[in-house]
């Protein structure tokens, strides 16, 4: 009898010990030495993720002893989502808008319903907004959205059909027109028609528009992501352009998500989740702010507060009842945007 109890006890101790060791610092032996992640993202985040990937790799190795290599793919947000649906096996997606991430669920069930509630703050670890970039000295006196509909003002924006950023542009303009005193649906429609009537070049992506404006010298005003605007003002077109902040704008929330179907196939769920969560850490938020995205962390935001203009921001849920509705009404084939161009003929 006694030996039996002893054996049982020994086994129990051994099991407990091994459990304890697994919970402690040394990593589980099951983890491979190196792991590779693929982050499929949109155009303007190249510089951000180049820096963040290196930071996360350091953090992850220090914590787990495992090396991680992160591969990046950048392109237009919609094109990137479509590639993932068609078999580009991204472990994580970091796209321009929730509509594109949600396409992974709608079109191919790669991620479950409710994906946006899996991470804090709508799964958007950073935000941005839409501002104007004008020529030095603001020769056309552009102050607010209304000026973009004025005759003789040439406006550069990408095509909302193909560019995530451009959809934010469009929605911000629409909501401004709707909310101004005496504004209604018809007036918003007229305003948007005038604004797009002033657009001489409709590039397919945000980066194309920036190039058209900065390099080709076309247009009086560029409607752009705030982070792209900063990049232009401080780096690419330094001394040639300045930023104008409109009276109201949209809170752009570019969401991130792990792609369940693919991380389970690759066995990378743990590291992929950690990769996205680390975006919310102090270091992650600091990197985000350095690349002119608005950090979610109040502490980090306070450190960079002078960099971001105070502007009345509204979210897409408040103003449009979410992406589903905005997309159907404005951007689908035959929607308001199509009607605009078709009636212009």
């Amino acid at each position: 009898m006694v030996p039996r109890i002893l054996i049982l006890g020994a086994v129990a101790v051994a099991v407990l010990a091994s459990e304890a060791s697994r919970a402690g610092e040394p990593p589980a032996p099951a983890r491979p030495e190196k792991v590779v992640l693929l982050n499929v993202s949109y155009d303007p985040t190249r510089e951000l993720y180049a820096e963040y990937d290196a930071a996360f790799a350091r953090h992850w190795e220090a914590q787990t002893g495992q090396k991680v290599e992160i591969k990046q793919s950048h392109g237009g947000s919609g094109k990137q989502a479509r590639a993932v649906i068609d078999g580009l096996e991204a472990d994580v997606v970091t796209l321009a808008l929730a509509w594109d991430v949600d396409a992974l669920r709608r079109e191919a069930e790669l991620i479950p319903e409710g994906w946006q509630q899996r991470l804090p703050q709508n799964s958007a670890p950073y935000t941005s907004t839409i501002v104007f970039v004008v020529r030095k000295g603001n020769p056309k006196q552009i102050r607010d959205w209304g000026d973009l509909g004025r005759e003789g003002v040439s406006v550069i924006t990408p095509n909302p059909k193909t560019s995530g950023g451009a959809r934010w542009n469009y929605l911000a303009a629409w909501h401004w027109a709707l909310e101004r005193p005496g504004g209604d649906e018809q007036k918003a429609r007229d305003f948007i028609a005038r604004l797009f009537g002033n657009v001489p070049v409709l590039d397919t992506g945000a980066r194309g528009s920036t190039t058209t404006f900065a390099e080709r010298n076309i247009g009086d005003v560029l409607i752009a992501w705030e982070n792209e605007a900063f990049l232009l003002e401080r780096d690419i077109a330094r001394g040639k352009v300045e930023i104008v902040v409109p009276s109201s704008s949209i809170l752009a929330e570019p969401p991130v998500a792990i792609v369940d179907r693919y991380v389970d196939k690759h066995g990378t769920r743990e590291v992929a989740e950690a990769y996205l969560r680390y975006l919310y850490s102090d270091e992650g938020q600091e990197i985000v702010a350095r690349h002119y995205y608005r950090p979610r962390s109040k502490r980090v935001m306070a450190r960079h507060a002078e960099q971001f203009a105070k502007v009345k921001l509204f979210t897409i849920d408040q103003a449009f009842g979410g992406w589903e509705q905005a997309q159907r009404k404005h951007f689908d084939t035959g929607g308001v945007f199509d009607q605009l161009y078709e009636s212009k003929r």
């Binding site: 591969k71 590639a83 078999g87 190039t211």
Partner: protein, 279 residues
Amino acid sequence: MARSGRRASERVVTESPGVRRLLIGAAMVFLTLFLFAPLAAVFVNAFRAGAGAYAAAVADPGTREAIGLTLLVAAIVVPLNLVFGLAAAWLIAKFSFRGKGAMVTLIDLPFSISPVIAGLVFVLLFGRQGTLGPWLLERGVQIVFAVPGIVLATLFVTLPFVAREVLAQMQTQGSEEEEAALTLGAGGWRMFWSITLPKVRWSLLYGIVLCNARAMGEFGAVSVVSGLIRGETITVPLQVEILYNEYQFVAAFAVASLLTLLALLTLAARRFVEARSAR
């Protein structure tokens, strides 16, 4: 594209010197503005920031990886085209069979199909929602958004080049030498290596050069199937677009100038081949 190497004979009847000079002048002005100016603009823009910036752009790891991939794709696609081109040209030039007209049309088809469609067809076939994609992906075979997809799309757009060039030359040649060799007891392969291949070597060479240039320069089809993974599925033309989108205009033109040099080499090779085959 092969052309008779015969020089224009001295014609008795021709235009007056004035008209002649006018026409030559007009053609030169047109070509200068329409053809040479864009060519020059590539190099002017590439060296806008000096030779140092140019060298830095070309030595950038992203560019080097793109060059590596492009060379790999060409190294796979060109030999495959060589096999197909020789087989198809031999078949069409020497035999009559049912479906020959259809085959000739099919060979030409990639010329007149938009590269975008060339990319699209492979996504529709091998994509996750495609016809064969799910079955292959279950077995761990990734075609689109990986190197195999890029190879396939490139193969599609380059398929006509070798076949067309070799066929054109074979059609103008008889089969007497081949038949003589066979009568003298040579086997099929012996005949092919020592008679047929030497006879078509110049068109074959030019077909390879053209095929190679297109393989390295294809943009539309490859951009649809690439997936744009840094250091993995970016070819040189895609790298040009990426640099352009990263506001690195000088670098974009610098990398573009590499492709332009390749184009110029292609043209030089053509002159060389024409000069040799005219002998």
